[in-house]
């Protein structure tokens, strides 16, 4: 039998699914206990109990100085920045992407410019952003928009351009105006795709958020990680990384559900 035709029993498939996670946890526990046996105060691979203590300290105990619950204030600050950045990017992508896709004037005007801008490495712009927009929220949100919006615009314009020409012609023979075609032919097919590309941009958006928070902030998930990195508090960094991963995965899942609920037809077309 060829390897590509191998049939896995459901049990084996489940076991394989969990194996990499188990190996990771086991390797961690082993490495951690070895290091801790040599130095009980080791911070690099803390024991699970110290991680649990750190979670308790960050999430369920008010901070000694400010009285805030740090994990939640950090999450709230970061999510606000993320929501603002992604919201602006999505709105820009919708308007500019559709315009580029259906209007030759805007395609000639903006398509080369957007393609050019999308090649600028956003992190390299960071020092300029901080000087021109200050160290406050504006520059952090701007970084997310600059990093994410051009890609989303290009993606949406491509989707619109790839719509079957027949659909447009058909609508024209039925005497639809440009506006009506945009509204009834293009939007219903572009919007599901927009949400799909938003999902794909969650990862980069978190990357830009954390990079911006590492440079200057007084709260936020990235801020906390780079702050405690100073004294090697892996017991705080590990739960924060897990929490960020969980937030991103939930947002990914949530947006997909939202798309299915809002645009049930997009599901039919994809055949899923």
């Amino acid at each position: 039998m060829r390897l590509i035709n191998q049939q896995l029993s459901p049990v084996a498939a489940t076991a394989l699914k969990f194996a990499p996670f188990l190996v990771l946890i086991l390797a961690y526990l082993l490495g951690s206990s070895l290091r801790l046996a040599e130095n009980p105060n080791d911070k690099l691979l803390p024991a699970l109990t110290s991680i649990a203590d750190a979670v308790d300290l960050m999430a369920f105990t008010p901070d000694r100085r400010s009285g805030d619950y740090l994990l939640w204030t950090d999450t709230w600050s970061s999510l606000k920045r993320l929501a603002a950045g992604l919201g602006i990017s999505t709105a820009l992508a919708l308007v500019i992407g559709v315009c580029i896709g259906i209007l030759p004037f805007f395609r000639a005007l903006l398509a080369p410019f957007v393609s050019f801008v999308s090649m600028v490495p956003p992190l390299a712009l960071l020092p300029i952003l901080f000087i021109s927009m200050g160290l406050g929220e504006t520059s952090k949100i701007a970084l997310i928009v600059i990093g994410v919006a051009p890609i989303m615009i290009r993606d949406l314009a491509q989707t619109v351009l790839a719509l079957p020409r027949e659909q447009i012609v058909k609508a024209e023979t039925l005497s639809a105006s440009s506006w009506l075609i945009a509204l009834r032919i293009v939007l219903p097919q572009a919007l599901p795709r927009l949400l799909g590309s938003l999902r794909l941009q969650l990862g980069p958006a978190f990357l830009f958020l954390i990079a911006a928070e590492a440079i200057s902030a007084d709260s936020g998930l990235g801020y906390r990680i780079f702050l405690v990195r100073r004294y090697l508090s892996m017991d705080i960094i590990f739960p924060y990384v897990a929490w960020i991963t969980f937030l991103a995965a939930s947002a990914d899942f949530g947006i997909d559900r939202f798309r299915r609920w809002l645009f049930p037809w997009s599901q039919l077309e994809a055949g899923r």
């Binding site: 190996v23 086991l26 390797a27 961690y28 082993l30 490495g31 951690s32 070895l34 290091r35 040599e38 130095n39 009980p40 105060n41 080791d42 911070k43 690099l44 691979l45 110290s50 203590d53 750190a54 300290l57 000694r64 100085r65 020092p127 901080f130 000087i131 200050g134 160290l135 406050g136 590492a214 440079i215 200057s216 902030a217 007084d218 801020y223 780079f226 702050l227 990195r229 100073r230 004294y231 090697l232 508090s233 017991d235």
Partner: protein, 356 residues
């Protein structure tokens, strides 16, 4: 099939352990690794490596010393704490809060200098420290800048409640100071000398006003050092030969200062200006006298109180006594059962006695 899987698992686990489990193993050895980062008081290490002084002393003691420059100060300390390096350059405060709090028994081999103006508090639209009240202050949180701010506020009867600290990365300080929403900042050299020249910048406090409290050290892993005293001797030999060279008023001395200036992004004049804001202990006897003086205990008491207040001493610390600090005369500040930070004048004394 089953044994195969088990073996694979064991192999993977072993790999993980190899990757994570490396620590500096303390026993007699001949190869040592030293990490340093860019700062006026540590530039001599880079120069000593370039000029062959490191190899000269290493050869004399029959060992090899690899000197690595880090672009990121905190990363160099973290690497040392994780066991990747045998010695590292750091300040007395970071030595206590990072390796010592991380359980790595650390000894200060060389007390190189203290900051005598290298760290400073700046404000805009004001002319006295008291004007800082109610402002956002940009600084690297939990660094010596934070400590300097806390000492500065103490000196005018204020506390950190009176200001709001905004954590800001050190490479961005000079740029940040030129934006409108930054009105107060604490930072160190070479940023201090650049900010001083900016219009509207008023220096309201600097480390010369807390003389001798921000100390720059070369520390080594205590176990490595006690098993390999040669390593400590070589470090002292390298340091004081480089000191003699760089403080001498000869063409060679000027060339060394110019090289160190270039390596730290400035020139000879800029580097000499930074040296002026640093109290370098070029003479080992002077370093021994400073380290052995009773003032050091006072300084370390202030530092550990600050660290405890910020929750940096160890997560479970219930008082500032959580970590023991051993002074040269054998006195121990804090927990005698958990001594993790030591000041030792042995090697500086040997240099002073010409016994290296």
């Amino acid at each position: 099939m089953k044994t195969n899987r088990r073996m694979t698992l064991a192999a993977l686990a072993a790999l993980g352990v190899l990757g994570f489990g490396q620590t500096a193993v303390a026993q007699e050895k001949t190869d040592f690794k030293v990490a340093w980062s860019i700062y006026v008081g540590w530039m001599p290490w880079g120069h000593a490596a370039d000029a062959g002084i490191v190899d000269k002393w290493a050869d004399k003691y029959g060992i090899s010393i690899e000197v690595t420059q880090f672009n990121d100060y905190v990363e160099s300390i973290n690497q040392y704490t994780a066991g990747g390096y045998d010695a590292v350059t750091l300040t007395n405060m970071d030595g206590l809060s990072i390796p010592a709090a991380g359980g790595v028994d650390t000894t200060a081999v060389i007390v190189g200098d203290f900051s005598d103006g290298n760290d400073a508090v700046f404000i805009k639209d004001g002319n006295a420290l008291a004007d800082i009240a109610g402002r956002d202050v940009n600084l690297v949180e939990f660094s010596v800048s934070h400590y300097l701010l806390s000492r500065a506020l103490d000196s005018v009867g204020m506390s950190e409640q009176d200001v709001k600290v905004i954590n800001t990365a050190d490479p961005d300080m000079v740029g940040a100071f030129q934006t409108d929403d930054v009105t107060a900042m604490v930072t160190w050299n070479p940023m201090v000398s650049e900010i001083e020249t900016l219009p509207g910048a008023v220096k309201v406090f600097d480390s010369a006003q807390i003389e001798g409290e921000i100390i720059d050290l070369m520390v080594a892993n205590t176990d490595v050092l006690s098993d390999n005293p040669k390593f400590g001797q070589a470090l002292a030999g390298i340091w004081y030969e480089t000191m003699t060279l760089m403080t001498s008023d000869t063409p060679e001395g000027a060339a060394a200062r110019a090289a160190m200036g270039a390596a730290s992004g400035t020139d000879q004049a800029g580097f000499e200006a930074q040296m002026a804001a640093t109290k370098l202990f070029a003479d080992p006897a002077e370093a021994v006298a400073f380290t052995a003086s009773s003032d050091l205990a006072g300084t370390m008491n202030l530092v550990r109180a600050f660290l405890f207040d910020k929750g940096l001493l160890t997560p479970g610390a219930t008082s500032e006594d959580a970590i023991g600090i051993e002074l040269p005369d054998g006195t121990i500040l804090g927990d005698t059962a958990n001594v993790k930070f030591r000041f030792d004048t042995t090697f500086m004394q040997m240099a002073a006695d010409g016994a290296l």
